[in-house]
């Protein structure tokens, strides 16, 4: 079988990363998620966890049951088949997340972008975002695509602690911090919505492909 664009590389003794392409795009991300769904459905022996990302997906496996050589061959074949079959995706859900726009960086974002605070809020809350990925910390969802006028690089100095519920932006993305963590994004607001609860099923509020609209509350 030909794996023209697919490339496998070991990530240590217990994982293999399969790269789908070199350039980030919505289409490539869709292919990665679709392949991740197919792999999950295929229930491949010794596979323990599947982690989709922008250019690649990583499969964690039990190295007592199989070798890198064997599992990477199986996974490349399965990914190749997935790319040549109709795309698979979880049913999409729409979420509305109420936000109080009073973040510590809101004014600085307005100054940096040359917009008024009112305009920053209007542009952030006036769009529908798509969940690209979950990662970093439990329940942290990378949401695209931020209004181009709001796109700023990350803060030069990350904060040692960003409070859970902080709504933040960086580059072309926005996110809600699900727990207190260090963070380098610009904080523009906060929400009471619980993004992650390990006792809930599913534990994470958002899943890849879901859409999110932020609603301004006072």
């Amino acid at each position: 079988m030909s794996h023209t664009q697919l490339r496998a590389h070991p990530l240590g003794d217990t994982a293999v990363t399969i790269t789908f392409g070199a350039d980030r795009s919505a289409e490539l991300l869709r292919q990665v998620h679709s392949a991740a769904h197919s792999l999950k459905a295929a229930n491949i022996l010794h596979v323990e966890d599947i982690v989709p990302a922008y250019l690649a997906l990583t499969v964690f496996y039990d190295p007592l049951g199989t070798s890198y050589e064997e599992i990477s061959r199986k996974l490349l074949d399965a990914c190749d088949r997935a790319m040549h079959s109709p795309p698979k995706a979880a049913p999409s859900r729409e979420h509305r997340i109420p936000v109080r726009y009073d973040g510590v960086d809101l004014e600085a974002v307005a100054i940096s972008t040359g917009l008024s605070v009112e305009e920053v809020v209007a542009r952030h809350s006036g769009r529908i975002y798509t969940v690209d990925l979950l990662g970093f910390v439990p329940g942290f969802a990378y949401l695209s695509e931020l209004d181009t006028a709001l796109q700023l690089p990350r803060r030069a100095q990350p904060r040692p602690r960003v409070a859970a519920g902080s709504v933040a932006i960086a580059a072309a993305q926005t996110a809600v911090y699900p727990l207190d963590t260090p963070g380098g994004w610009h904080i523009i607001g906060r929400t009471q919505t619980v993004m992650f609860d390990p006792t809930r099923d599913p534990p994470a509020l958002l899943a890849p492909g879901n859409t999110v609209r932020f609603e301004r509350v006072e």
């Binding site: 590389h9 003794d13 990363t17 323990e48 922008y54 690649a56 964690f60 190295p63 727990l179 390990p198």
Partner: protein, 313 residues
Amino acid sequence: MITITRAPPYLAVQDWGRQHSRSLGVPRGGAMDLFALRTVNAVVGNSLDASALEWALGGGAVRFDRDCLFAVGGATARATASGRDVAPFTTSFARAGDELIVEQIITGRFLYLACDGGIDVPALLGSRSTYLPGRFGGYEGRMLKSGDSVPLGAQSTRHPALGFHAAADLMPRYDSGIVHVTPGTQEDLFDESAIRTLTESEYRISSASDRSGYKLEGPPLANSLGTLPSEAGCPGAIQVPGDGLPIALMADAPTIGGYPKIAVVSEADLPILAQRRPGASIRFQLITIDQSQRALRRRLSDIHAISQHASRS
């Protein structure tokens, strides 16, 4: 039950971590030194991945509230139970009311205490391990403090003989300071000199090191790659941020990240790295994935052998 009579600065319930929730952003977590966790479990007759107490940063004391087989191991420590010395990775017995006192940790970082039956806290996402940043898992999602009592699970029918100990030649070479690595997922994007620098230099564990990662001090690695689109990492992955100083990801590391990964520490040697303290030095040696996986299988079969011997003893 086991009661914390004098809590060390860090004490938390850990097992082998969450193996199936990375796509939700949940790190593997669990014990920093999986070899030590599994071996203390083996010598008390527990299943290898049962939950135990992970202990660091200083001495302390706990009281057993029922008769209990127990074992300590990992970091070396001066420990006594009812006045008698407690040897590492050795099946020991305590009567209800006996106190285990760890005077101090002598070498290494993480000491494990297993009791027969394991620590009986609720499993969340398939694990009893404590994830401190998310305040969940383990005992109420937090470190244990003086006065806490944690329940123990039911004792198994396997009763290893007292004094059984894991053979010294089956231990990782904790004091060697040599850590094997395999090529990282972005290894081909680095200059060849960067790999040479990594494997021919000595690196020191920085004071900026915790359960999520160990920053390494030494010659910087030329890295013109900047940040790449995020992809999965794993404990042991060595990532190189813009300043060129490598960071070894550890148990609580974020599930995905954008720094290029030059190498990944062999699973069999990860305990050696985990047990190095700030200021201690290490050297990396490059091996193939095949060599690395064979070393891991050997290590795991050694632990299974310890477990079987313990149960037959």
